[in-house]
Structures are given as structure tokens and as C-alpha cells.
Amino acid sequence: MPYTLRRILNSILLLLVTISFVFFAGRMIGDPALNMLGPGATPAALEKLRVVAGLNDPLWQQYLHYIGRLLTGDLGVSYRFGFSVIPAIDLKELGQPVINIVLERLPATFFLAGSALVVAVPLGIFMGVTAAAHPRSIADRIVTALSLAGVSVVQFWLGLMLIVLFSVQLGWLPTGGYGGFQHVILPALTLAARPIGRIAQVTRSTMMDELAKPYIITAQAKGVQNHRIVYHHALKNAAIPIVTMIGDETSALLTGAILVEKIFAWPGVGLLIIDSLSRSDLPLIQASIAVVAALVIIVNLLVDFSYRYFKPEIILGRGR
């Protein structure tokens, strides 16, 4: 199907553009060698690095090399990972392939983001649907209030406050670190606050529009039960804006994880990004951005492709 192909090609192009932008920005602004080794590097180390990493070559040559290696899955190496001080030994032996570092941390972030989604999506949809099905009731007010609160709160602040309450004051949960339920629950809840708010908001307003449409009355007149009308008839039609927004929120989750991972010392890609920023590890930053951007783009693609299930008109065309 040409549509599918077009979308995929578009996405690949977008990814390429992003990676290229990051590449050029990194090499052109400031001193790339400094950005790769950090401000504490000696001039000798910097020189060695320039030779090893090919930083003295013309820019377009560097770019071509980079893209070439990209296609084989090699995003370069990091000279700083694992070292807080630049060692004085041979740099060439040190570099760890960045892609491995990033991929190693990915599962932790997936676990965190996944947990947040598992909580946020069903809860948010349920809240929105309930509010729309009982307008102006107490449930409606509560849902509206909670969703407004969810989108207005500062995520990492919420995390800190939860730590204060549950870890410091009550001592029920650990203050951070990687682990199972006990360790993931606070960060997951922190991450989930905003998506719950947004999902509930959008679900509620789309469902309210949908429930006012004529076919709902037809279904009622037929004798369909109310819960079926709401969840089976109306929700399917309201799905597209909701799913689009869930896709947006999932992408936002990946980036929101950056802050939450820092607060809770959760060893995922987010924490990796922060650490590499503070240690000036340019290759690692580039790779992390590339991977996260790729993930976000994939999520958007999936959302796009789900439309055909919800709105057959798009694929089958209008009328005969």
C-alpha cells in the first residue's frame, strides 16, 4: 500500500534529518573535541582525540563517514563512559561503542514507561468515559479537577514530593534505585500523572461530542445496554483523537522519563542522557537522541496505522 510506504519513508527521512542536525550541531558549535572529552581534558588528550576521531577531516567527510557507519549500526564510541576523569592512556583502546551502551539501558526505561502506561491508559480512559457518560455529576467534576491537576503539576516535583511522603516520612518505599514493584511504583506513578490527566481530558471531551450524535439514540432505541453503547459504539468512533493523544503522551513519557529517572536514580536511558550531558560525552548524547527519536517516530507510525481500524472510511474511501 503506497500510503504505508510513504509514511515509513517519511519517518526514516525525519530520523535522518534529526541525526544529521545533531551531528552538525555537535561538530560545528564550539569545540567538538572539548564536547567529547569535557572541560577537564588536557590539550594533548584533545589532540589525540582529534586524530582518533577524525575531527580534523573536512566536515562533509566526517559526515559521510558517520552516516556510513550509521547504516551498519555503528554510532561511534564514547571515551567518557565509565570514567569520571580522563585517563591518560591510549584513547583508541578506550572507546566503547555507544550503541551498546544505549541499548543496554533501554529495557529499564521501557519497564518504567511501560508501567506508567499500563496505569495511565486504562485509568485515563475510564475516567474520561465515566465523566462523559454522567455529565455534571460528581464523578464528572472530580475527573475534570484531577485531569487539570495532572497536566498542571511539575512531574519531577511530584516525584520529589512523593519521595518525601512515602520514603522520608513514612518509610514505606525506597527513595530510588532499580528493582521490582517497590522500586518502580513511585517513579511510574510520577510519570503517569500527566498522561492520566491528558488522556482523561481528551477522552472526556471526545466522548461527550460522540455521545451527542444521532446514532447513539438509535442504539438506545434498539435496546442496546448503556455500557455497551458507551464502550462499544461511542468509544470506537471517538478513538482517533484519543489514540493520537495517547501516542503523543507515550512519546512524552520517553522524554519525561529523563527527569524521573534522575530523581529516582533509575538506571535507564534518561539517566544516561543526563549523565552524558554533565560529563560532556558528545557521542553518547548523539546516540541517545538518535535512539529516543527513533522510538518516538515508531510510536507515531503505529498510531497512524491504527487509524484504519477505527475509521474504515480512510482506507476504503468514501462511498461507492
Binding site: L14, V17, T18, V22, A25, G26, I29, G30, N35, L148, A149, V151, S152, V153, V154, Q155, F156, W157, L158, L160, M161, I163, V164, V168, S251, A252, L254, T255, G256, I258, L259, K262, I273, I274, L277, S278, I285, I289, V292, A293, V296, I297, N300
Partner: protein, 317 residues
């Protein structure tokens, strides 16, 4: 039978509801709408404190006062000073710091939103009105940039450029103009086919003039709503970026920086983290509430319903 050769007298005209509502009715309606009233008051208060910080703040925002360090909210210091929200590790009054921090946080948000709005609306209106290649290019750019993870890109750019107020506003501009552009383009598409635009075209107006003086005033309402929401978004973004050290840099203080600074003392002085966060929360909340209210007001049906519920409906004879 009605003789149509004579003009209709008033008694023949339908007795439609003719209600005139003035400022008083709007004011009364706002007073009765507790939620909007709260949001409006908070925002006004914020503006007042931001502008008049020098006069209204109870203490000095900088300077050491180690005798009174780490006091919980509501305490009285050694010298008899009252610290409404407590003090930080250097003995500075938190409330005062919050007020001065508001200046930074709010102005970053507002400035960023204003610039994004100007660029975005211009691009969007022109793209939507002229269509063709311009629209294609702009919308592709918009869609592409919108699908990027904005926090990440912001972090990267700020890492390369360094932090600071100016760079922050620049990053906001670059990463948020698309939201306005997308909305403006949609509005321009609708406006393009409307009667008033076609009338202007037929009178020989040039497109630039049409966009600026005809279309723009008519589409201001939803743009203003979006603008309000974006200020909230930017304030939250600034908090995150400053917290990570890439936003506003010390010695400037912003709410986000205050949270990051207070983090080390979280076990002993929770208020250093709690109150800046609450400030951001209430600001964002009020802005969201105001945006919702503004959205309702601009829709004639909802406006009528909102007013009718809260005022005495005056009917003309």
C-alpha cells in the same frame, strides 16, 4: 393575509429574546464562578507581585543570613523577622525568593510564548492563506518538528549553546512556534473561504492586508486561548530545564532552580522543594483554567449558558 407591499410593523416581528448584557453582568458572572474567579485572581496577583517585587517582598532575596537558616514555614527568626514560608540554607526568606523567582519563570514563559506566537501565527496564516508550495513546505516543517521529542532537543541545544535566559527563550521559540503555526493554518484555511475574505478580495485588497487586518482580528480568540496554554507549558518546561541545570543559570533564581537547589536538603527542609513546586502548580493550573474559560466565552452558545446560569436574565419587552 399579510400584505407584503407595506413594511412590517414591529408587532409583526417575532418576539425574539432580546437581551442586552453589559459589563456589570459579566463581572457578576465571574464573581459567581468560583473557579474562574480564583484563577483570574491568582494570575492578577502573580502579575502584581512580579512587577512590584521590589516593593512587595518582605525581605531581601539575596544576602546571607546564617543565623536564620533552615527555618520551617511560619517561624520567627532571631531578629524577630517573620518568615512566611521558611528560609533556605543561606537564611534567605523563601517567600521573597519565590516572588523574585516568579519574575524569571513567568517572563521566560511569557516571552517565549509571545515570540513563538508571532512567528508561528505569521507562518501559519500565510501558509494557510496562500496555499500551494508555501503551505506544503511550512506544514512539512511543522509536522516534522512536532514529532521530535522537544525536551531532548532542548537539552541538546542548551548543552551546545550553554544555558541562560536568552538561549532558553530562543530554544522555546524554535520548539514551540509549530503549535501556533498549525492552528493558524487551520484557521486561515477556514477564513479563506469565508464571505468577509472574499468580499475583501473582490475589493482589491492585497493579501498581506487581508491577512493582517481582516483575518487576524477574527481568529484572535482561539489563538489567545492557545497562547495562555502555551505560557503554562513553557513555565513547566523552564522548570524542568533549570532543574537539570540547563535553563536559567545562577545567580538568577527561577522556581525550577529553587527546586533543584532545595533537593539536597529534602530530608530536613522539605519546604524548600514544596513551595516552589506549588507555585508552579498553581500558576499552570490558573492558566489552564483561564484558557478553558476563555474558550467557553468565545463560543456564543457556551457563553450564553455560562452567563445565564449566573446572572438574572433580563428580557426586553
Amino acid at each position: 393575509m399579510v400584505d407584503l407591499s407595506k413594511p412590517l410593523s414591529p408587532t409583526d416581528v417575532d418576539e425574539s429574546r432580546q437581551v442586552q448584557l453589559g459589563w456589570n453582568d459579566y463581572m457578576r458572572a465571574i464573581l459567581q464562578d468560583y473557579i474562574t474567579f480564583f484563577a483570574l485572581s491568582f494570575v492578577l496577583l502573580l502579575i502584581v507581585f512580579t512587577l512590584g517585587a521590589d516593593f512587595l517582598a518582605p525581605h531581601e532575596p539575596t544576602g546571607l543570613n546564617l543565623r536564620d537558616r533552615m527555618l520551617p514555614p511560619g517561624s520567627i527568626g532571631r531578629g524577630g523577622d517573620f518568615y512566611l514560608l521558611g528560609t533556605d540554607e543561606l537564611g534567605r526568606d523563601l517567600f521573597t525568593r519565590l516572588i523574585y523567582g516568579a519574575r524569571v519563570s513567568v517572563s521566560v514563559g511569557v516571552l517565549g510564548a509571545v515570540l513563538s506566537a508571532i512567528v508561528g501565527v505569521t507562518a501559519g496564516l500565510m501558509a494557510g492563506y496562500h496555499g500551494g508550495l508555501l503551505e506544503d513546505i511550512v506544514m512539512r516543517l511543522v509536522d516534522g518538528m512536532l514529532s521530535l521529542p522537544s525536551l531532548l532537543v532542548a537539552l541538546f541545544v542548551l548543552f551546545i549553546l550553554g544555558g541562560g535566559f536568552g538561549n532558553l527563550v530562543l530554544v522555546f521559540l524554535v520548539l514551540h512556534w509549530m503549535v501556533f503555526a498549525r492552528m493558524a493554518r487551520g484557521l486561515a484555511l477556514d477564513a479563506r473561504n469565508s464571505a468577509y475574505v472574499q468580499a475583501a478580495v473582490s475589493q482589491g485588497c492585497k493579501s498581506g492586508r487581508i491577512i493582517l487586518r481582516h483575518i487576524l482580528p477574527n481568529v484572535m480568540a482561539p489563538i489567545l486561548v492557545l497562547f495562555t496554554l502555551e505560557i503554562a507549558v513553557l513555565i513547566l518546561s523552564e522548570a524542568s530545564l533549570s532543574f537539570l541545570g540547563f535553563g536559567v543559570q545562577p545567580p538568577d533564581a527561577s522556581w525550577g532552580l529553587m527546586i533543584s537547589g532545595g533537593r539536597e536538603h529534602i530530608r530536613s527542609a522539605w519546604w524548600l522543594v514544596a513551595f516552589p513546586g506549588l507555585a508552579i502548580f498553581f500558576t499552570a493550573l490558573s492558566l489552564n483554567l483561564l484558557a478553558n474559560w476563555a474558550r467557553a466565552i468565545t463560543d456564543p452558545v457556551q457563553r450564553w449558558r455560562w452567563l445565564a446560569k449566573r446572572t438574572k436574565f433580563r428580557k426586553s419587552k
